[in-house]
């Protein structure tokens, strides 16, 4: 029995190794979302600003938008926030925010202080929509086309480079398609 115990570290290491090995090569910044080319899952979430105002999946209609998942607990979200503000004000990109597993007051204070780039803000304190979208960790940014179809997913901070190289060309493309 004692001899057997000595093998436990080995078994654990092998199990961990299998998981790590499976993780290799998956591009974590463009994680294959199960939802790519599927519609945004059905949801019913309150507005961040107004708890009585309820949004459903039909808000994703008529135009190509960015859906940005963020939280005040997420340091990287702070890094990308200025770029989002710039995109909204200078480039006129419609951005929807999904405030993920956060506190309403903290989130509102954040937007008050740092600027609000979002056309509309969904409040997802339980992370339900985030779970359905397969959110890996904030920040994440999705491109959703005019039919409400998830087209692209970027994991990590949106900066100037991500915008010009990954997001802008695709947004232009989906705009032309629709």
């Amino acid at each position: 029995m004692r001899r057997f115990l000595l093998f436990i570290p080995l078994l654990l290491a092998v199990a961990l190794g299998v998981v790590l090995f499976a993780g290799i090569g998956k591009d974590t910044s463009a994680l294959e979302s199960a939802l790519i080319d599927d519609p945004v899952p059905a949801f019913e979430l309150a507005s961040l600003e107004d708890p009585h105002k309820i949004y459903r999946a039909d808000v994703f209609q008529d135009k190509v938008v960015l859906l940005n998942v963020w939280g005040t607990w997420c340091p990287s979200c702070r890094v990308e926030h200025s770029e989002l503000v710039r995109l909204a004000t200078e480039e006129g990109v419609p951005i929807y925010g999904l405030n993920y597993k956060d506190n309403r007051d903290a989130a509102l204070e954040w937007l008050n202080n740092l600027g609000n780039p979002y056309e509309l803000s969904l409040f997802d304190p339980q992370g339900t929509l985030g779970f359905d979208l397969g959110v890996y960790g904030a920040p994440e940014t999705y491109i959703i086309d005019g039919e409400g179809i998830v087209r692209y997913r970027h994991v990590g901070v949106v900066d100037r480079k991500v915008w010009t190289e990954e997001l802008e060309p695709r947004i232009r493309q989906y705009r032309e398609e629709s």
Binding site: R2, R3, L6, F7, P9, L10, A13, V14, L16, G17, V18, V19, L20, F21, A22, G23, I24, G25, K26, D27, T28, S29, L31, A34, G71, W73, C74, P75, S76, R78, V79, H81, S82, V85, K101, E109, W110, N113, L114, G115, G127, G130, F131, G134, V135, Y136, G137, A138, V155, G156, V157, D159, R160
Partner: protein, 666 residues
């Protein structure tokens, strides 16, 4: 030509590492001392050639040789000369070369300082380190060659060093961290050697301990430097983010801390042998796991290296061979070192065992939190990370528990401690800590549960430590004589424990009583925070060597009296077009005043973050104490006493009763 010389030197180093991995080990297994004698020359040789390669890469950076791809990607002719040096380890390939340089350096050091060790043990230890060097040299040569040329299309100028890394903190942070990570390979090599030859005793522990302590000191400083850098450079004033890359350095630190304590028991009492060996393996395995997590791209992090699946696959192979190989060796051979020494249920042994259990629990929490997304993904359950809330919620109670146990453990004695006596010793620490844990939070603001717990833990450790010094230093020849009689390793332990108390106090106070406000301000406006007023007097433009900056001028005063003027900046680096935040900080032992410029928010107005951070410096001050404690501990006389040949042989053969060493060494 120089880069080719560097590449060639690296290949030669790899060949020497291959010889080092095989020849001395074969010699020790077959008993041929002529082969064992190759260990030291081969160890020196591989270091020399890696050093030549490193010098060649440095030369390419200093001379702006942009025909070398790695230089072109990580440097620029406009970069200040000192950052051209540090840019050598600014990216994956060069930092890996630094890692290998340090690894071969440690190997060389073991070769030099092991004159008193039995030849076959030295041969085994150096061979094991050679195996590790070989693996990393193959890794760099096959997947991450820093000398690769960009011919014939040589760029006119380089892509510049990531502006985040253009900072003193990042110049010294990686070498410190790697000294720690790689230093644990020595303990690992000693453990593998012990498993191979089945000899493990107090002498073994005495040889392994200083090496482990030095590595641990470097890792402590490296982690603190990283945290300090994040605080002033990332611009939002936090000092720990539970980012996967940070966790990758915290995990070996926790395991290494457990290892240091377990080694103490093994040296003094000859017990926990098999456990110590396992910890030595785990600690180094976690260093390798850290390298894998940072360099394979399996986890997203703000500051992971650019990823490449080939590298990930190679590293997991390396991890598999090293970890599975050594754990299998452990599983089969650990019973060989089994011993039976008795100790009571209330003894220093038990306290140190509990300390190990708690440290491992903390380690497990970090491991689970870090790998959670990967595991979920593997099980097909989607991916999500647990984030900061999970760590803060789970890690703090364990840290407090470690502190409480430590305060009591200080008074415990080897073999058996009288419960009633221990209880009486703890009366004063308990009473004083209780008072402080109520008064300090009340003085800073309101009494909060976590602030109470943290202050209690910090005070508990501190008071118990000083009380222990007091009782141990009593002597008939007077207090001063008594203090002088205590050993350096005892004072090292004292500093280490006080360091931990200081860090806990700092972390508790700053996270509970730090005040931060994000305000919209125009030049000329004043923001109030408590009795402090932050006046945004003007905004000016400033040109740096490779960036342009908007610089705010903030005058901070209390009751109309100017305390300090801060100059936070928003920098635009020209080459990479990155915007960086340079916070303005007025640092103090008891509080920092912190101003950072956010974004322009229309007109002349800026989003400004102002912060009051009490005791934030203590977070890093504590790690300085811990590292100083480590240095003091290895300066202890018993590591310098020449072990007589006969005695060393005898104890190495395991003849000596382990308990016999304990009384003498305490």
């Amino acid at each position: 030509m120089v880069p080719e010389f560097g590449h060639f030197a690296l290949i030669l180093a790899m060949l020497l590492a291959a010889l080092l991995a095989v020849v001395p080990l074969t010699g020790s297994l077959t008993g041929r001392s002529s082969l064992q004698a190759f260990a030291r020359p081969l160890a020196s040789g591989q270091f020399v050639f890696v050093a030549i390669a490193f010098a060649a890469l440095t030369q390419a950076f200093v001379t702006d040789d942009f025909s070398v791809a790695y230089v072109a990607n990580n440097s620029n002719s406009m970069l200040p000369w000192y950052y051209k040096f540090s840019a050598v380890w600014g990216g994956h390939e060069g930092s890996l070369l630094l890692w290998i340089l340090i690894l071969t350096g440690w190997t060389l050091a073991v070769g030099i300082f092991s004159r008193r060790l039995p030849t076959d043990l030295v041969a085994q230890v150096l061979s094991v380190m050679g195996i590790v060097s070989l693996a990393f040299l193959l890794f760099i040569l096959l997947t991450s060659n820093p000398f690769e040329r960009l011919l014939p299309n040589v760029p006119a100028d380089g892509a510049d060093l990531n502006p985040l890394l253009q900072d003193f903190g990042l110049v010294v942070h990686p070498p410190m961290l790697y000294m720690g990570y790689v230093g644990f390979s020595v303990a690992f090599a000693f453990a593998i050697a012990a498993l191979i030859n089945g000899r493990m005793d107090a002498a073994w522990a005495r040889w392994t301990r200083p090496w482990t302590t030095v590595a641990w000191c470097f890792l402590s400083l490296g982690i603190a430097l990283g945290s300090w850098w994040a605080y002033y450079e990332l611009g939002w004033g936090g000092w720990w983010f539970w980012d996967p890359v940070e966790n990758a350095s915290l995990m070996p630190w926790l395991a290494g801390t457990a290892l240091m304590h377990s080694l103490a028991v093994t040296e003094k009492r000859g017990v926990f042998k098999s456990w110590t060996l396992l910890l030595a393996i785990i600690t180094f395995a976690l260093s390798l796991l850290g390298a894998f997590l940072v360099r394979s791209g399996v986890l997203t992090s703000v500051h992971a290296f650019a990823s490449d699946p080939t590298r990930g696959t190679f590293l997991i192979g390396l991890l598999a061979v090293t970890v599975i190989g050594s754990l299998a060796l452990y599983a089969f051979r650990a019973p060989v070192v089994h011993t039976r020494v008795r100790y009571g249920s209330l003894s220093r042994e038990i306290f140190l065992l509990l300390n190990n259990v708690l440290l491992l629990a903390a380690l497990l929490l970090v491991l689970v939190g870090t790998l959670y997304p990967l595991v979920l993904d593997y099980m097909g359950a989607g991916t999500m990370s647990v984030g900061e809330p999970f760590f803060n919620l789970t890690f703090s109670p364990v840290a407090i528990a470690v502190a409480l146990l430590l305060g009591a453990g200080i008074f415990s004695r080897w073999k058996r401690t009288d419960g009633g006596w221990l209880g009486r010793q703890l009366l004063w620490p308990a009473a004083i800590s209780l008072v402080l844990a109520v008064l300090v939070p009340l003085w800073l603001g309101e009494l909060k549960p976590w602030a109470f717990a943290g202050c209690f833990g910090a005070a508990w450790v501190t008071v118990a430590t000083f009380q222990d010094i007091w009782s141990r230093s009593s002597s008939r020849q007077g207090r001063w004589y008594g203090l002088k009689r205590l050993t350096r390793s005892y004072y090292g332990m004292v500093l280490g424990h006080l360091g931990m108390a200081i860090t806990i106090a700092g972390a508790t106070v700053v996270s509970n009583y730090g005040v931060e406000r994000d305000v919209r301000m125009e030049p000329g406006e004043v923001a109030q925070m408590g009795d402090l007023s932050f006046a945004f007097t003007s905004l000016r433009h400033r040109e740096g060597p490779n960036y342009a900056a908007e610089q705010g001028v903030f005058e901070i005063s209390r009751d109309g009296e100017l305390i300090t003027t801060l100059y936070p900046e928003k920098r635009m680096y020209r080459v990479q077009r990155n915007v960086m935040t340079e916070a303005g900080i007025d640092a103090g032992l008891f509080r920092d005043l912190f101003v950072a410029l956010g974004e322009p928010v229309g007109g002349d107005a800026w989003a400004v973050r102002i912060q009051f951070k009490p005791l934030v410096r203590w977070v890093w001050l504590g790690s300085l104490f811990m590292a100083a404690g480590g240095v003091l501990a290895i300066a202890d006389r018993r590591y310098r006493i020449k072990v007589k040949g006969g005695a060393a042989e005898k104890s190495a053969a395991g003849v000596q009763e382990p308990g016999a060493v304990a009384g003498k060494a305490t």
